[in-house]
Every structure is written in C-alpha cells, then in structure tokens.
Symmetry: C2
Subunit: 252 residues, 2 copies
C-alpha cells in the first residue's frame, strides 16, 4: 500500500447514449462507489453521464481529472464506431492514440491470429503511456493514464476487473458508517438530526432516507465519518434522542 | 400541446449523498429519460449526480439550466437538514426562498393543523415564482421554476408525479428507434455498422450494446432517429448486411 492521504476523492464518468436514453439501467455507479468506499477509503464526489461524442468526452475528462484525485470512466472501449473513449482521452491529454504492444499481444492470444480482425485491433489502441488493467473475463484490457482509470461499460466485466485497480490507487482514511432504521417519518426526527449534525459539524455527515417496508413508512438514518470516536458519540446521542421520543427502532 | 420545437433537450441533476456513496441504486435517471423520450420527444443529453451541498447544487443548477432546454432535479426537497435543493435553487436564480401559499395549504390539509410541524412547513418553502407540480402520493409538491423541474428523490413518489410535468413542457419531435438483437459479437459487425452510420451521418444514430443471454453472447443494435424514412432505410440496409454475413437474428 502506498502513502496514506487523509482524504482521497474521485469522480465517475459514465459514457454511453444507452444510459442517457433510459434504455439501459446503469449499475456501475453504485458498484464503483461502494468498492472505492469500502476497499480504498475513497469517496466519490461527482458522477456525470455523457453522450458518445468526442468533444463532450474530452471536455469532461479534462474537467473532472483536474477537479478530483481520480477519475473512473466506464464505457466506450469496445470495437464499434460508437466506442470513442480511448481516442478522446488521448486528445484530452494530448498524447498519441496508438497500438499498445502488450494489449495487442493479449488480444491476439485471446482471439487467435486468424480471428484478430481490424475491429478487434481497435481495442489495443490506447493513449500512449497507459498502464494496463487486466480483464480476466473477456481479455480486452482497461487502463490507467495519469489519474484516470478507464473501464468497460458491461457491469460483469467491469466487476471482474476492479480489484486490479487497487495496487494503482492511493488509499484514504476509511469512511465508517452506522445506520439506524426507524419506524417513523422524517419530519418527526428532523430537528434532532439537525441539532446533532450541527454539534458534530465537520466530523460527521448525517443523512436521512425514507423507505417503504411491510406496508409502513420508515427512515434510514446514516451517519458517516472517518473518525471512529465522533461516529460513535454522534450515534449514541442519536439513540438517546430516539428513545426519548419513543420512536420504534426497526434495526441497527 | 404547445408550439412544436424540432429538437428539445434536457439534463438531469440527481442530488444526494446516498447515490454517490453507492448506498442507494439510482432509478430515476432511466425512468425520467425514458418518460421524456417516449412522452415528450425530449432527449436527455447529460446527467450529473452531486452531493448535498449548497454551493455545489447552485453551481450545477446555473450551469445545466443555461446549457439545456430543461433541467430536472431529483432529491433534497424533504423536511430534514440534508434537504437543501429549494434553498439552493432560490439562490441560483436570486429569488426569495419563502412559504408558497398553495403548497402550505396542501400540506396543512394533508397533515392536519396539529401535526403540521416546523419540519413539515419547510416543504412549503420554495423559490418565489414556482409553479406547483402536484404529488398524489404524499402531498409535498414538486415545482417548476424557470426551465427547472424540481422533483423528489423517492422513485415511486417521483413516478406518481411525472405526468403532471407534461402540460408545462414543450414537445420535441418524437425520437423513433428500432432494435435488432443478434447472436454475434460486436467485432463481427463493427465495419458494417460504421459504414451505415457514416452513410446516414446526421439523420440516425446507431449504437451497439453487448448482452449475455441463454449462455451466449449477443449484441443489441439500436438505431435512433426523429426521421421515419431515414430510420427505415438504415434499418433495411442493416438487415441486408446481417443476412449477407449469415448472422443469426434473435429478435427484432
């Protein structure tokens, strides 16, 4: 593990018309965020979903890679004309878009020489200077260039690769959380939550999320912090207020 | 129905730490996009997910409402301290953040005078000049201010309200699409797809999306266009190429 930074953040850029049109339900945001949080102590601060359009991709890659410690992109690294992520990233960083020898060999081995056609060769064209992220399920690698991790859009393939990003990431302080599920409505606990939030201002972040279960409405209260003591103190204070108000706790 | 514009576009701004942390799987993007596409001929061009943070919300509301014909926001209009959408939008548009009389009445009727506490009253505070979007499932209304539609984050509540946005929207030309599901891999059809895309350049947009089904891999090819003739011509050309290449069609 590399040197510890206290706070490490990231953004996710989802590239693909099929997500914007509503045809495909994105599953990568929740997966990557949860993985970054739990495995690396990295918190995702912003997500964007953009079209398969070079200019748009270039602009967003430049903007988000400057704004955050890391940027994760998904989608647009396949063999078809609407896959334009790698060429766009090359342009964003002003580096050559060229055959990556190791990627070429991996793909040639996987398909066999006779089946390794031009469309497949396209998947070996990467921005110069890329470090491969191996793909155990369908060979075509992802890569890291500068602070950007470039991953495929198909969720099971992305999921099979994500652990290969770990050695290339700086780790942050782990984000701890405690959840309390209550049989109540938000407006009955809003004042208490605000008071506790104000008291612990910078050390914890409290969120409240309504849910429907067993025909009743409820609220999940989630406290997040990188500081174990603050997390516990604010949590105990919350429990105290909840009990004083005679609100039923459904689960911890 | 109001005056027809040819192309009408929109962006979606998802407001909520719970989506960014991966705790909650967003379902609103796919739903809103699909609804805008099919019901109003409006295409979503960009989505952003941002934190519960006033400065961040203000910046994104200003930016996206200028860039697109419409902006839809979801989340952050409940009664708790982490609900800051309405105050932020008021600041973005430099209008007062104040009790909306009609919203106040609706909420007072729904809860009854004795149960209408301060936290609930917060849900009646809106940017001055807002037009209500009624909420048949849990009373607290959404609203339209300038070209921004402000909706709740809980999917079933949002879904119950969305049709109430329709009279307030300009309609675009309907986006037509045809899909062809093939038992093949992308790299076997990439050249044909690119040729057809280049031939119909501006009139159609062709996307290809790998899938796994019945233990086999396949590709969905989706052609989109607002022009019925171009859609059909490009589709027939695609079918011709597919048959020439002896690729098995799974479904239309």
């Amino acid at each position: 593990m590399k040197k510890k930074l206290k706070k490490v953040n990231a953004a996710i850029l989802i590239i693909g018309d099929e997500i914007l049109s509503g045809r495909t339900q994105d599953k990568n945001v929740a997966f990557i965020s949860e993985w970054l949080n739990s495995q690396c102590g990295i918190s995702v601060q912003e997500v964007r979903v953009v079209q398969d359009n070079q200019k748009v991709i270039i602009k967003n890659v430049i903007n988000l890679s400057r704004k955050y410690n890391y940027l994760f992109t998904t989608g647009g690294i396949g063999p078809t004309h609407d896959d334009m992520t790698s060429e766009s990233i090359s342009k964003a960083f002003k580096v050559k878009y060229e055959i990556h020898k190791k990627a070429y060999k991996i793909l040639e081995n996987y398909y066999g020489k006779s089946e390794f056609n031009d469309s497949r060769k396209k998947m070996a064209k990467l921005p110069r200077g890329s470090k491969l992220i191996l793909n155990p399920s369908s060979a075509a690698p992802g890569y890291k260039i500068k602070n950007v991790f470039v991953l495929p859009g198909v969720p099971p393939i992305l999921q099979s690769m994500i652990d290969n990003c770990k050695p290339l990431l700086l780790k942050g302080s782990k984000i701890l959380s405690r959840t309390l599920n209550l049989f109540t409505v938000e407006s009955k606990i809003a004042i208490d939550l605000e008071r506790i939030q104000n008291k612990f201002e910078k050390n914890v972040k409290i969120g409240s999320y309504p849910f429907f279960r067993l025909g009743k409405v409820g609220v999940s209260v989630v406290i997040r912090s990188t500081n174990y003591r603050s997390l516990n103190k604010s949590y105990l204070e919350l429990i105290k207020r909840i009990k004083l108000n005679k609100i039923k706790i459904l689960s911890f």
